[in-house]
């Protein structure tokens, strides 16, 4: 197969001590941001991004993507040992992971989590290896209207599939688009929405937004909740790792099912958080013996972890092949690609095959490196969390401020980060989702360009989005998704009304 050959070339590009070292650095930093409260994967990648501007793109993407894998692993560690999810996507792991650790099975829970996460990630990468070339080839046929339709589909699925109120998602997303359009207009060269404030001329960087929304905002929430780490002493014993590894094949069905859920949720922009919750729910519903769920059922660790990581890796497929990232972290990485002068999307596969296949090869290797590193370093990271928050918190703030300044060497960005932090704090408390805002900020310019070019092609008529089967199909799917919450709501109220009208009709259905 053609893809396998390309993959072997990719391994040729990345197999050097330098790159392996970068992987280890990336994974280590990733575990660190995953473990620390207030620093998550999107934030960690944003903070590291300015430091990679002078690197070559392959090294830079290896460092950043490995940080992503590390952060996913780090998030599970704190879920299991401290009952504190380091990442939103590892919330579901706390349900059964923490009870297991409390019952003295910390090593077993951690090993189960890491190995099933590794398997999920590998499945995601295999999927990318097999499908990416095909998706990219398909996308080569796209012109501006099709691109706009793909963006529309991505954003529509956010509104329909998000757990939050669709209108809050809409507002959050549109704020992102508006923020992205501040500054110089790329087509006409006019200044937009700057309101004569000189600091706004350079625009608002999505990196600043991520650091504030996810970093400072999360820290404010953490302080408010009065974080207390009641950790469980974790000593990973080799014998127990061995015993757990033998146990893994027993969960093949859970792993297979969770992988499929994860891959699907990763490709569509639902993301790892939704995937892990859904996979946990499915595992519990389909289990014959549900009594242990929530009290330390190993399947309750395996299911969300597998789905979380397969979704995390799969999120890179639409980013690479279409230029539409599947998660907030993938969005930040995509922003990074654009800063390094690469254009994500199908052309990347023909222009820079060394980069694309190098990245895919590094995903295989990086995940293996991550599994070993995380098992080896768990006790070390567990001890970091015993450092009081009055030291860790301010250090994280200082790191974020430094990162914010480095984005554009601008002092005003430091205050902008504080502003975004406040927005992040309030939005989080009111259930406004933050990921759509970030995604819209990264994609804003591209979506707008696609829209304006389509309008130019058609002379201002919206008919162009229904001019051929492909674009019409994408737009219709997007509209259907957009209207689906409304349809569900209508069906729900109709059912309720019918039920209220005939309360004794069929009483069993009510229960």
């Amino acid at each position: 197969m053609e893809n396998i050959g390309l993959l072997i070339d990719g391994f040729g590009h990345i197999l050097s001590w330098n790159h392996i070292l970068l992987m280890m650095v990336g994974v280590t930093l990733g575990i660190l941001v995953g473990v620390l409260p207030g620093l998550g994967a999107p934030n960690g990648v944003s903070l590291l991004l300015p430091l990679t501007f002078s690197m070559d793109p392959i090294s830079a993407i290896i460092l950043l993507s490995c940080m992503y894998w590390g952060a996913l692993f780090g998030g599970s560690t704190t879920s299991i040992l401290f009952n504190i999810p380091g990442e939103p996507s590892s919330v579901a792991t706390t349900f059964d992971g923490y009870p297991m650790a409390k019952a003295g099975q910390a090593s077993r829970a951690l090993t189960l989590a890491f190995v099933s996460a590794g398997l999920g990630a590998l499945a995601g990468v295999v999927m990318i290896t097999l499908l990416s070339g095909w998706v990219a080839n398909f996308a080569l046929k796209f012109s501006s209207p099709e691109y706009f339709a793909v963006y529309f589909l991505a954003f529509a699925s956010f509104i329909s599939m998000g757990a939050q109120s669709p209108f809050k998602t809409l507002v959050s997303m549109m704020l992102g688009f508006a923020l992205a359009s501040i500054g110089m207009d790329t087509i006409s060269g006019n200044l937009r929405l700057t309101f004569d404030i000189p600091e706004l001329i350079k625009g608002v960087s999505f990196l600043i937004a991520v650091m504030g929304l996810f970093g400072i905002g999360e820290l404010l929430l953490t302080t408010e909740e009065g974080l207390r780490f009641e950790g469980i002493k974790a000593r990973v014993k080799l014998a127990e790792i061995g015993r757990t590894l033998v146990e893994i094949p027993r969960y093949w069905l859970t792993i297979a099912r969770s992988t499929i859920i994860g891959i699907w949720m990763g490709i569509t922009p639902a993301g790892p958080t939704a995937a892990s919750f859904m996979s946990y729910g499915v595992a519990r519903r389909s289990a014959r013996d549900k009594s242990m769920f929530g009290k330390g059922d190993p399947r309750g660790v395996v299911a969300p972890e597998t789905a979380d990581h397969s979704a995390g890796t799969s999120a890179l497929l639409p980013m690479l092949a279409l230029g539409v990232p599947g998660s907030a972290t993938a969005a930040v990485m995509m922003g990074g690609l654009m800063i390094w002068g690469l254009t994500p999307g199908p052309m990347l596969f023909t222009d820079r095959p060394d980069f694309v296949w190098g990245l895919i090869a590094s995903m295989y290797l990086g995940n293996v490196v991550a599994v070993f590193l995380v098992i080896a370093t768990v006790p070390l990271y567990a001890s970091i969390l015993r450092v009081p928050f009055s030291i860790i918190g301010p250090i994280i703030v200082a790191v974020i401020f430094s990162g914010a300044y480095q984005v554009a060497n601008s002092v005003s960005d430091i205050f902008l980060v504080i502003g975004f932090g406040l927005i992040g704090y309030v939005f989080k408390k009111l259930d406004y989702p933050l990921a759509p805002l970030v995604l819209a900020m990264v994609l804003g310019d591209k979506a707008e360009d696609a829209f304006r070019q389509s309008m130019l092609m058609s002379g201002g008529s919206l008919d162009i989005f229904w001019s051929n089967a492909l674009v019409a199909g994408l737009m219709t799917l997007g509209l259907a998704l957009l209207l689906s919450p409304l349809a569900f709501w209508l069906i729900g109220t109709l059912r309720k009304r019918r039920h209220d009208a005939a309360p004794h009709g069929d009483g069993n259905a009510a229960a």
Binding site: P50, L51, F53, S54, S165, F167, K168, L170, V171, M174, L175, F177, A178, S181, D185, I187, S188, N190, L191, R192, L193, F195, I216, L219, L220, T223, E224, G226, P388, S390, I391, G393, P394, I395, V397, A398, F401, S402, Y405, Q406, N409, V411, I414, F415, I418, G421, L422, Y425, V426, F427, K429, L430, Y432, E448, F451, R452, M455, L456, G460
Partner: protein, 166 residues
């Protein structure tokens, strides 16, 4: 507002406030877009064409959120933040803003050292001989990592200039 109990701000008030603010932002976006031209020019859609509709959607979403706040959160007694928690959040937020101001004036290295030492001393209740070296240590570590390791400069102020470090 009568919704507010003595011990905090109700969620309803904050929901309304946030929706009103996003709505106002939407209006500002529409106004800014009309200002630069939201119509059609010889070169195709004008610069404000796309943002204008974005602004309209923000206004629309905010209005629905206001209605939903009335439907879902009025009179539920849900508290957004109570006085005790607000104090805790402020104790983290205010030093953070002060840090921003000091950093803008004296640079990030001095700012970091002062901020870390001060929070450790005043909030962590560490002795000054632990807090001060810790602050300086973090600042020095930043210098080694960023300036020397990655060769990206951080903001420097008058103090570094005085010592001749650029």
């Amino acid at each position: 507002m009568s919704e507010n109990s003595a011990n905090g701000i109700s969620r309803f008030t904050v929901e309304l406030g946030v929706a009103a603010l996003t709505g106002a932002f939407g209006v500002a976006v529409c106004y800014g877009s009309l200002d630069i031209g939201a119509g059609w020019s010889e070169m195709g859609p004008d610069a404000g064409y796309f943002p204008f509709y974005i602004g309209l959607l923000i206004v629309f979403g905010s209005l629905v959120n206001i209605v939903q706040a009335f439907l879902k959160h009025r009179g539920t007694g849900e508290v957004f933040i109570d006085a005790g928690r607000a104090k805790v959040v402020a104790s983290f937020l205010l030093p953070l803003i002060a840090f921003g101001a000091i950093a803008a004036w004296l640079g990030l290295y001095i700012g970091t050292a002062i901020y870390i030492a001060a929070t450790m001393f005043f909030q962590g209740r560490y002795k000054w001989w632990i807090a001060l070296p810790a602050g300086l240590g973090v600042s020095l570590a930043f210098f080694l990592i960023f300036e020397i390791g990655f060769q990206v400069p951080l903001l420097k102020g008058p103090v570094e200039a005085w010592f001749g470090i650029y």
